[in-house]
Symmetry: C2
Subunit: 331 residues, 2 copies
């Protein structure tokens, strides 16, 4: 018999295959491959991108030249554009507005072939700190209500370019998924007068069976209600609604737990693609950070989404999170 | 500049690429392929499946033997099982229950290589009528609250078996996506005292620019707020909340419009995979059919879902629905 589980955050149900769980070797995932060719994000090819927005560079090097360690450029094919007004309007029963926002690409390292697991803790810390710097800058634009920071790694995860990069999108509204999480957390807070995520950390630490890694400031675990096998959540132990307010003590700890989690995943699925997304509170609104708690959602791409999931929003999870966590812990 | 559009049903925003729309030849989709091998769903292999639940057969042929045109069998690896009690319970802050439900596979035709576009209108009608028969039967089980009918066509759409088939899942709760649509439609009805979908049909017929096909009883169009390029909605013109209540006059018209829509899609994307899902009202509850209107959501698999979509729930649509509809109309 499978198990139905209900997400305490958004109320989503998932079906967990507890009867015949899939083992790692049973996933026929599409392996990440390198196509080669000239990369516009590589060291020395700075002229191939639009002018850089911000970078961490060696002293006395000029923008748009070599000498950088982390570099942020505008997306050449942006989903949303910085210029213009939102101009919300209707057309009969439909509603629309102009695609105003920002869409940036953050190059995590000058090296095409290096990835998070190859970088030193300090190098990972460096690009994570740039996530914060970009957020602080984008918040100044009062048209923006949400900053989405996410990584597509490998073609199966939707990456069209190979060079290690993260994308930052500033949105003129709070997107659906963030809104659902925030509403759910608010609802929980109103009922219990406690942060849902702090309660989750407490229960995970007590039960131990879904934890992968833990350090002084962070926890990495497989959520009780995962949408995907080997899905991972990385969460700060200290309550805070905003990712960009991460402290100087927390940042190196996040770099280490992110890197070590990916190393463990790579030991089990050497060529798997993945996405990760930073979930943080909305900006420039009346958002209350008391009830929301930022975290990273990490999703290896091992399976395909089919009609059942698209139609119902209910995901069938081939490996229970408890088993995924055990494999990852022991990797 | 791209365009942000807001779904009148669920409130979801999408980003429509109106600036540099992708043309059909620009989609690098994974083509559907045949792997071959013995198929448990083929004519003559009836013993390879669990005993059939229901079939449309030639007179004087026995169950689980050849002689069928449409055949329904239990899924050998069901997501949910018919036996047992739901037994809802908690574990600390988490909620769960047993995976009670039904999971059936409907074989649309005895022929492995035939697909909806190869079948006659009467053959399509036959398997669609079986969708209704199975629903009527499953509703009798009062534990079930929703019947999900969906088709995965091709590996990119999550199909693991090639033989033309549809899946039917009976769920012990109303799934998230259905709940969102129903709530949105209810909200609209409370405000306007009209069915949202009837209003949508009226506007689409007036504007004409998103319509693909129309017959006496059905409309096939690309929704104003699509999540995917070339997404299609097939909807009955006559208001009704329940798919299985389709009339004897409507059924052949649905068979024809479904088949003809797929033929048009196939002309543009010869080997594309797709999913389709029947959206219908919940069963065995206090569901009011005044404000909901059943329809088919049809999604060709031409692109990959990436971190932005997974994280935000906001989809970036490479081809505006108006352009998708034009290509399909003229195909």
């Amino acid at each position: 018999m499978s198990e139905l589980r209900r997400d305490p955050i958004g109320g989503r149900w998932v079906i967990v295959n507890t009867d015949h769980p899939s083992k790692p070797e049973e996933f026929e995932y599409e392996p990440r491959t390198f196509r080669g060719g000239t990369c516009p994000f590589c060291y020395g090819n700075e002229a191939m991108t639009p002018p850089e927005i911000e970078a961490i560079r060696d002293p006395h090097t000029s923008p748009n030249t070599p000498g950088w360690q982390v570099r942020v450029v505008p997306n050449k094919f942006p989903a949303l554009q910085i210029e213009g007004e939102l101009d919300r309007r209707g057309s009969g029963m439909y509603d629309m507005s102009n695609g105003v926002g920002a869409h940036e690409v953050l190059l995590e390292t000058p090296y095409h072939q290096k990835d998070i697991y190859d970088l030193s803790g300090e190098e990972v810390e460096k690009f994570l700190s740039m996530y914060c710097r970009r957020t602080v800058d984008l918040i100044k634009d009062k048209r923006f209500k949400y900053i989405m920071i996410f990584k597509n790694y490998g073609a199966a995860a939707g990456a069209s370019l190979e060079h290690p990069h993260t994308q930052i999108v500033a949105l003129p509204m709070v997107p659906k998924n963030a809104m659902e999480e925030i509403r759910g957390a608010h609802h929980y807070f109103n009922y219990r007068e406690r942060c849902l995520f702090c309660d989750m950390i407490r229960q995970e630490k007590e039960e131990k069976k879904r934890i992968i890694l833990e350090n002084k400031y962070f926890l990495s675990f497989c959520p009780f209600v995962s949408r995907f096998p080997f899905e991972i959540c990385i969460i700060p132990k200290k309550h805070n609604g905003f990712f960009y307010e991460i402290s100087a003590e927390e940042l190196p700890a996040l770099a280490v737990i992110l890197k070590d989690t990916i190393i463990k995943l790579k030991k089990i699925f050497p060529n798997a693609s993945y996405n990760f997304i930073i979930h943080s509170s909305p900006i420039n609104g009346d958002s209350d950070t008391e009830y929301y708690h930022w975290h990273i959602e990490f999703m290896p791409k091992l399976t395909r989404v089919a009609g059942f999931e698209w139609g119902s929003g209910v995901y069938v999870v081939a490996t229970p999170p408890e088993l995924s966590a055990k494999f990852l812990r022991e990797a």
